[in-house]
């Protein structure tokens, strides 16, 4: 128990570097093998499973905070300029964001160890991509309204914060039942970065103030960078006679940026009916070494227009004061390009849950003499109902984000399992998700979606996601 407590503390501290997306319906949905990707220490009761290639796991999510597509583009007869002013420019803050993520399982499978059936191995490959952009509050005002009549108002360059990444992930995991009431798991991931763009951690400001000599003084203090890997090749693919699919395949199969990551997870049965789980995912990094193209703008300059102070200015009658000013600015704040390699941390996710099972539907199915199955693995499955709560946390560039989920799960024999969730996070406080796992013989089909109340008008939704997949699962001895 002490060790478990330490593990939980470690997991919780781990969220401090988190960044990712919540899959609250799939988490700990033990009837679905893809849930192992969210907790490698999940109670896995299968003997083996094989995901149907390319369709074993398809996931997509889009989220915006503070603003929806409908807010701006609804055919409501209102002036779009007024809507942009009222609903975006003066309503959103730098903490508001828009993001999207997708994940497609290419291969996914798992099998129980022959020599030691308390071990379950899983492996696979998936492609994942995300893009996120925080609302550049100050820069949006600067672009939309300008700097006029805003004396001494600083426009923060840190508001520029955007990133996106597409990677291919090859993974292998081990899930081991250590005790009747304790299962742990770990997964190693080899990343191959296909595309990475980011402009984060920017510093500086632009301000217009009263001039010391002239009427106005404009100051730019900048430490801004844009980094990319794979972007140049993507843009010039046509010119280079390369197809996009060929480029993605080449970079996705270890011709791109290398990376390494780990997942860890645990399931602990406090008693017959009460279960704790936790996991940390994607503890890793990518080293961007291929097709790197970076831009930087770094320095400080203040100017009050072209300044001519006599008699010094008379010393060179042919002086080009304008060009000297331009040259001075370029020297003080150089805009530079480089191809230096860089490292990005992978988005790490933290999940945990507490689940209470009740309503037995019979004795646990025992398909072999392996005593690893007698207790915890099937314990969850022979209860009809589960209720509980989940905590999800991520650390984004603007600080940590949390999601709290309450769920109810209902099983109908070995055939059907349903899960309903209610989640509160920064995007919405009315997120109801539903998930279904249907087991028809060896064929497993699952489908889930969240924030379903918004599906009546998806354009007015702050969050929408869905996931589905098809697996072949064997519950028999291998």
């Amino acid at each position: 128990m002490k060790n478990l407590l330490i593990l939980y503390i470690m997991l919780f501290w781990g969220y401090m570097t988190l960044h990712g997306q919540n899959k609250e319906v799939l988490y700990d949905f033990i009837e679905i093998p893809q849930a192992l990707l969210l907790n490698p220490g999940m109670n896995a009761s299968y003997n083996w499973y094989a995901g149907v290639p390319l369709i074993s796991g398809i996931y997509a999510q889009g989220a915006t905070s503070g603003l929806t597509v409908n807010d701006i583009f609804a055919a409501d007869g209102l002036d779009i300029n007024q809507k942009v002013r009222d609903r975006a420019l003066y309503a959103l803050s730098k903490r508001d964001e828009v993001n999207g993520i997708f994940q497609i399982d290419i291969l996914n499978g798992g099998f129980r160890g022959r020599k030691d059936p308390s071990n379950f191995y899983s492996f696979g490959m998936y492609v994942e991509g995300y893009a996120q952009n925080y609302w550049p509050e100050d820069l949006a005002i600067l672009a939309y309204e300008g700097n006029a009549d805003r004396l001494d108002q600083r426009f923060d360059l840190n508001d520029l914060n955007a990133s996106g990444q597409v990677i291919n992930v090859l993974h292998f995991g081990i899930n081991r039942q250590l005790k009747n009431n304790l299962t742990v798991g770990a997964r190693i991931k080899l990343y191959s970065g296909i595309l990475d763009i980011n402009s984060t951690g920017n510093k500086g400001y632009f301000v217009t103030s009263e001039g010391q000599n002239n009427l106005l003084r404009s100051t730019l203090d900048a430490d801004v960078r844009f980094r990319s890997s794979g972007l140049d090749a993507l843009i010039n693919a046509n010119d280079n006679g390369e197809s996009l699919s060929g480029l993605f395949t080449k970079r996705g199969f270890f011709g791109g940026d290398p990376g390494l990551g780990f997942d860890v997870g645990v399931t602990y049965n406090l008693n017959e009916q009460l279960v704790l789980t936790g996991s940390l995912l994607d503890i890793g990094l990518l080293y961007h070494t291929s097709d790197v193209l970076n831009y930087t703008l770094k320095g400080n300059a203040s100017l009050e227009g072209v300044e001519i102070i006599l008699p010094d200015a008379l010393s060179d009658p042919n002086a080009d004061f304008w060009q000297e000013l331009v040259d001075e600015i370029e020297e003080l704040i150089p805009f530079e390009e480089n191809d230096k390699n860089y490292v990005t941390l992978r988005p790490i996710k933290f999940y945990s849950s507490i689940r209470y099972n009740f309503g037995k539907q019979g004795e646990p199915k025992q398909s072999c003499d392996c005593d690893y199955q007698n207790d915890s693995d099937f314990r969850n499955l022979y209860y009809l109902n589960s209720v509980g709560g989940q905590l999800y946390a991520i650390n984004r560039p603007r600080g940590p984000q949390f999601a709290f989920t309450a769920f109810y799960q209902r099983r109908f024999g070995d055939v059907l399992a349903l899960k309903a969730t209610y989640t509160v996070d920064k995007f919405t406080a009315s997120n109801i998700g539903l998930g279904m796992s249907l087991q028809a013989g060896p064929v497993n089909f699952y489908i889930m979606a969240d924030n379903i109340l918004s599906y009546g008008n998806i354009a007015d939704s702050n969050l929408a996601s869905f996931q589905l997949g098809l697996n072949i699962i064997s519950w028999d001895g291998n």
Binding site: V69, I80, L142, T208, N214, L215, V306, I309, F412
Partner: protein
């Protein structure tokens, strides 16, 4: 009866996903979006001490043409809608002055000019705003400006010195323009 919850649940999930829809969106509104910031910055600052004015023989103590490409930059010239140029002249010397700003094109032709007659110190600061665009002078003046000429004529003597500290003439200017980015 016991099957009702699962059918209800499955039906709900099915309906949620399959019947998801969106109210009519009009993305053509984007064509009507106006992004028109107003940018403001200093233009030109000239400072001439009285001792320099006194050293120059003749009345035209200063005349210089400056290359000034900011207005004729393609991005600026293509997107300017209107604007205001603000001038400020401060004279703390002992002599009245006649100062002229001129906007010149590539060939050195004068496109526009602004003249200031300032009295000897003590004198109030003269400030003047000139509008360009539909409500003012032609925007083509701004678009075609590639140089500024400043001329100053001493309307007084070459010997007197103001009792004010560091007597000089100061010419200040700034511009505020609206630009259509979209």
């Amino acid at each position: 009866m016991k099957y009702i919850p699962k059918y209800l649940f499955t039906l709900l999930l099915y309906l949620a996903i399959v019947s998801s829809c969106a109210e009519k969106q009009d993305f053509d509104q984007l064509d009507n979006l106006d992004v028109i910031p107003t940018a403001e910055a200093s233009l030109l600052y000239i400072e001439a001490p009285e001792r320099i004015i006194n050293q120059v023989t003749g009345t035209n103590f200063y005349s210089q043409t400056f290359n000034f490409d900011a207005f004729s930059e393609e991005f600026f010239a293509d997107n300017i809608l209107d604007g205001i140029v603000t001038y400020e002249v401060e004279n703390t010397t002992s002599k009245p002055l006649d100062i002229t700003f001129e906007f010149l094109d590539d060939a050195g032709n004068s496109l526009d000019s602004e003249n200031f007659i300032v009295n000897a110190a003590p004198t109030a600061i003269i400030q003047r705003e000139i509008a360009y665009g539909p409500a003012g002078r032609s925007l083509d003046i701004i678009r075609n400006t590639s140089a500024i000429r400043v001329s100053a004529i001493n309307l007084g003597d070459n010997t007197s010195v103001s009792s004010l500290p560091n007597p000089s003439v100061y010419l200040r200017s700034s511009a505020k323009f609206r630009l259509r980015l979209k």
